[in-house]
């Protein structure tokens, strides 16, 4: 916990994202972006946590995140994703999707491209009728957005008009979207359904629909296992974590009772997917660690019940059944840790890359931990 650096930033943070590392990079990430919400003047900010030569003996760093630059954003930041090293795509509560560019040379941000009214309601009473854009996902050069209007948009960066729009894709609000494969996306909605859409096909129907058994609890977030693409995790309004195997059945494989309130984000660790992270309205951030039950691992790694991150990456791919799909996760040793010491207000967003974790809260603070697996 000593490695967690906190900073109060005078704005409620709705999204935090690490800037992606170039492919061959060995060093940990040192730059992240945040978006705020519920302000009259919302901002996109870029922060640096480089050690800047302040590394101590053990390689730990001192210093809070430093603000590099920020820019005004119209509406709440509903979702945010780095398109590449320099550009950030931001979804707004006004229904607009904006691409911002971060200029490294003079440390400024500028709005590069904008799709206004990407999401809108058709309402006779109000003239604007914008609907919040709730989710955005990028796979350069493509950008997919979803919103409260149940619409799915496919944009291509630097193209003015949408490549494809599926109107009324869903009769309820779409809360999140992610790529399943390069041509397929996954969406979750507010009546508890997980849908697969094949963007190659011209029909405006999902290719598959999965739903929770029992009550149709809204699903708020979705993430796909980085290596095994049939494993999908979703988080619900009741704080439940569901793991799905999309090759089989229409219902989740396991349901894990997690948080006491809405789960806002779920992330598999991109290089070490036996680790999963979830954050919630109840103010907690959980680290789910299934790496301890792989029997092939040499015994010295079991010391203390914690495993070191990096080199187990290859052995996991070889295991026949992923730990996430095992029938009784409580029997197999899954370690779950709450990473927030004094929880008060909601943790709205988290991101992990390598050994670094960043998360933002409604208590107007950002937290960075650069020694996650130490």
């Amino acid at each position: 916990m000593e490695d967690v650096c906190a900073r109060f930033v005078s704005q409620k943070i709705s999204k935090t994202r690490w800037r992606p590392l170039p492919a061959a990079a060995l060093q940990p990430p040192d730059l992240f972006a945040t978006g705020s919400w519920d302000n009259e003047d919302n901002r996109i900010s870029v922060w640096s946590v480089g050690d800047l030569g302040n590394a101590g003996l053990n390689g730990e760093y001192q210093g809070e995140p430093q603000l590099l630059c920020d820019i005004r954003h119209n509406g709440d930041v509903m979702d945010m994703q780095f398109l590449d090293q320099e550009r950030i795509v931001v979804a707004s509560s006004t229904g607009t999707v904006t691409v911002f560019r971060h200029h490294q040379n003079n440390q400024t941000l500028s709005a590069n491209q904008q799709w206004e009214k990407a999401h809108y309601h058709v309402d006779q009473d109000t003239s604007c009728g914008g609907a919040a854009c709730t989710g955005v996902i990028c796979n350069k050069p493509e950008i997919v957005t979803v919103g409260e209007d149940g619409r799915i948009n496919l944009f291509r960066v630097d193209q003015k008009d949408a490549v494809r729009t599926i109107d009324n894709a869903d009769s309820s609000t779409l809360h999140a979207v992610t790529f399943l494969r390069t041509t397929e996306i996954l969406t979750v909605n507010s009546i508890g359904q997980l849908k697969i859409w094949d963007l190659r096909q011209q029909r405006n129907e999902p290719s598959q629909i999965f739903s929770l058994a029992g009550d149709r609890v809204p699903l708020h977030c979705v993430d796909r296992h980085p290596n095994q693409q049939h494993i999908v995790a979703t988080g619900g309004q009741d704080g439940m974590l569901s793991i799905w195997d999309i090759r089989q059945g229409t219902m989740p494989v396991s349901l894990l009772n997690a948080h006491e309130a809405e789960m806002w984000e779920v992330h598999f660790h991109p290089s070490n997917p036996d680790h999963l992270f979830t954050c919630s309205e109840d103010g907690s951030l959980w680290h789910w660690d299934t790496s301890t039950d792989i029997s092939e691992k040499p015994s010295f790694l079991h010391q203390g019940g914690r495993s070191t991150a990096y080199f187990s990456h290859n052995t996991i791919n070889q295991s026949v059944v992923s730990a996430w799909l095992s029938n009784d996760p409580t029997k197999d040793r899954m370690e779950i840790t709450n990473l927030v010491p004094n929880q008060t207000l909601s943790v709205n967003s988290l991101d992990i890359l390598g050994p670094c974790l960043v998360y933002g809260t409604d208590a107007e603070a950002i937290y960075v931990n650069r020694q996650l697996f130490a």
Partner: protein, 585 residues
């Protein structure tokens, strides 16, 4: 109504002119709305303007948000901390909390460049209250704490002290400064007396007569007030003077004796030239151990409730406030917390902090929260979800229902039937679910097909929320069965919808019409009994209509009924034969 103890300050609202327009006003939680009425004194009638008069400008300062958020965390921690902590550990815990609050103030001072003086004054007052009330320093340590307090807040260090330490008789001074635990108060007093007498002897002997400078030092060491006052320009404030005096004349001062020295110090220092400023009055009240007076003066002097609310709460935890009931019922701590939290709710973003403060006001907190939370504007679904979660966690069912209804209506107006249904499920609002189902059914009747099949096909257990919703789900299932050519199952379902009264009466005609293709099938689907049931339903339907209605029915309606009767009769004929034949062979 209590008497006013001071003239209320006059605030001029720029642009509002009561001589030309009659004004009216209304109190809000943290502001006043001033409005120009239609009664125009000048004879013209331009458009009316509304003025929003806010007192809490501080809330809108960017850096103070840090103060509010960090102190919110400390506040919650304090409320949640174990009550079992007793005695010394409790006191040290409370002192730590007080130090945490002060470090937050100092952190903000580092960030801000203007308004530092207010924060600095707040920290000064809080620090003194911590020494006198929270820590309740006893005689002995009290002076040390006061010395630290003055040093921390006054730029000029007491030069005298430095000189003293470097002058003759250093050993004697070491004795004086060495307040270790083994020495009791009496031992210390004795030592100090001894030292004091020695100094006096030196003065009387004329040892320092040759050097007036050293002589004045000696006089100061003896606590000679006039000598100290001569060096007035080195001390910036009267409380600096006070502590210096005490250092040299009464180092073992008891807390209760402070008031006399404080009053005389202030009088001597200010010398009647200037009247005390608000800060002076507050500090004086603290030295006099008049806690309520301190709080009252701070409330008047500071424009924001933050300081008094948190300080009072801390002092309440120290069990220092008697249940001093204010005339409108709640006690002082709760009153201040309510005011502070209400101010937070008037801010577009800080309202979330206010919730936790209301939670810890046992008498009126809940009522205030109920009223405030309904008035938060809900511009996105995510915000509405956060507000709902707050209400659900506190079993505020009324508010849950009302918020869900607002969101459902919005969704319905935007034709987002799935969203609307999702909100009704959250609120367990059967009536609204019925409304939504009726919309679906209406759409179906108009268009001949269902919209949003992904929703209706996947209702699951939420179908049971309302009868109409159940009907909708089952009706769609009928269509599905028909599409899959599972005719006998479809037939059974259709009949059940009518006989079990799941279907609304208005829909029976449609259902019967849906039965027609089943009746017309080559193979017989409905059994004799089922056919009789259908006929009964048809008769119930037509019998229910009055003669006048039958007259108004257009040809289509009558033809439909005719066709149905014919189809039913034919089906009956066929099925009787079929069933009779089977039995026979």
């Amino acid at each position: 109504m209590e008497e006013l103890d001071a003239e209320p300050p006059v605030m001029v609202v720029p642009g509002a002119d009561p001589s030309s327009r009659q004004l009216c006003f209304a109190w809000g939680p943290a502001e006043v709305l001033l409005c120009e009425t239609r009664f125009d004194r000048t004879g013209r009638s331009p458009a009316s303007r509304v003025f929003v008069v806010r007192k809490d400008q501080d809330i809108y300062i960017h850096t103070l948000r840090k103060l509010f958020n960090e102190s919110h965390g400390i506040f919650i921690g304090l409320q949640r901390s174990e009550e079992e902590l007793a005695g010394k550990s409790r006191k040290s815990h409370l002192v730590q909390v007080s130090k945490n609050y002060r470090s937050v103030i100092r952190a903000c001072m580092e960030d801000m460049h203007q308004a530092v003086s207010i924060l600095s004054a707040m920290e000064l007052i809080w620090n003194l209250c911590e020494i006198l009330f929270v820590e309740a320093a006893a005689a002995g340590p009290l002076l040390l704490r006061l010395l630290d307090w003055v040093r921390l807040h006054v730029c000029d260090v007491d030069n005298m002290v430095r000189e003293v330490l470097s002058s003759e008789d250093p050993s004697k001074h070491e004795l004086f400064w060495n307040l270790n635990n083994t020495q009791t108060l009496t031992e210390m007093e004795l030592k100090w007396q001894h030292w004091h007498e020695e100094c006096q002897r030196y003065l009387q002997d004329g040892t320092f007569a040759s050097n007036s400078h050293t002589e004045s030092i000696c006089k100061i060491l003896l606590g000679d007030e006039d000598a100290i006052l001569e060096k007035k320009e080195l001390m910036t404030t009267w409380y600096h003077f006070l502590v210096t005096r005490l250092l040299y004349s009464h180092p073992t001062v008891k807390p209760m004796e402070l008031r006399f020295y404080a009053q005389s110090s202030m009088d001597l220092f200010l010398g009647g030239e200037c009247s005390p400023e608000p800060l002076d009055t507050i500090l004086m009240a603290a030295f006099e151990f008049e806690i309520h007076q301190v709080i009252k003066e701070c409330s008047i002097a500071l424009s924001n409730w933050w300081f008094v609310a948190h300080l009072t709460d801390l002092l309440d935890h120290c069990k220092l406030l008697q249940s001093h009931n204010l005339y409108f019922g709640s006690n002082m701590r709760e009153f201040l917390l309510l005011e502070y939290a209400s101010g937070l709710f008037s801010h577009h973003s800080l309202w979330q902090l206010g919730v936790d403060y209301f939670d810890h006001c046992p008498e009126y907190g809940r009522v205030y929260l109920e009223l405030h939370i309904e008035r938060i504007p809900l511009n996105t679904e995510q915000k509405a979800l956060k507000v709902l979660r707050i209400c659900e966690q506190r079993q505020m069912h009324e508010q849950v229902r009302s918020i869900c209804k607002i969101m459902a209506m919005k969704a319905l107006r935007n034709n987002r039937l799935g969203s609307a249904l999702s909100w009704s499920i959250r609120a367990k609002d059967a009536a609204f679910a019925t409304l939504i189902s009726d919309r679906f059914l209406k759409d179906y009747c108009e268009r001949g097909s269902f919209s949003d099949l992904d929703l209706i096909d996947n209702l699951g257990p939420s179908m049971l929320l309302s009868d109409r919703l159940t009907f909708l789900g089952k009706y769609r299932e009928f269509h599905r069965l028909y599409g899959e050519k599972r005719f006998s199952e479809a037939a059974r379902l259709l009949l059940m919808l009518m006989t079990a009264h799941i279907a609304p009466c208005s829909f029976w005609m449609t259902l019967l019409t849906d039965a027609l293709p089943l009746l017309e099938q080559k193979e017989v689907i409905f059994s004799a009994e089922q056919t009789y049931e259908l006929m009964r339903c048809l008769e119930d339907l037509t019998a229910g209509k009055s003669e006048k209605q039958k007259f108004q029915d257009d040809n289509v309606e009558t033809m439909k009924v005719e066709m149905l009767r014919l189809a039913l009769a034919r089906n009956l004929a066929r099925v009787i034969v079929k069933e009779g034949t089977l039995e026979g062979s």
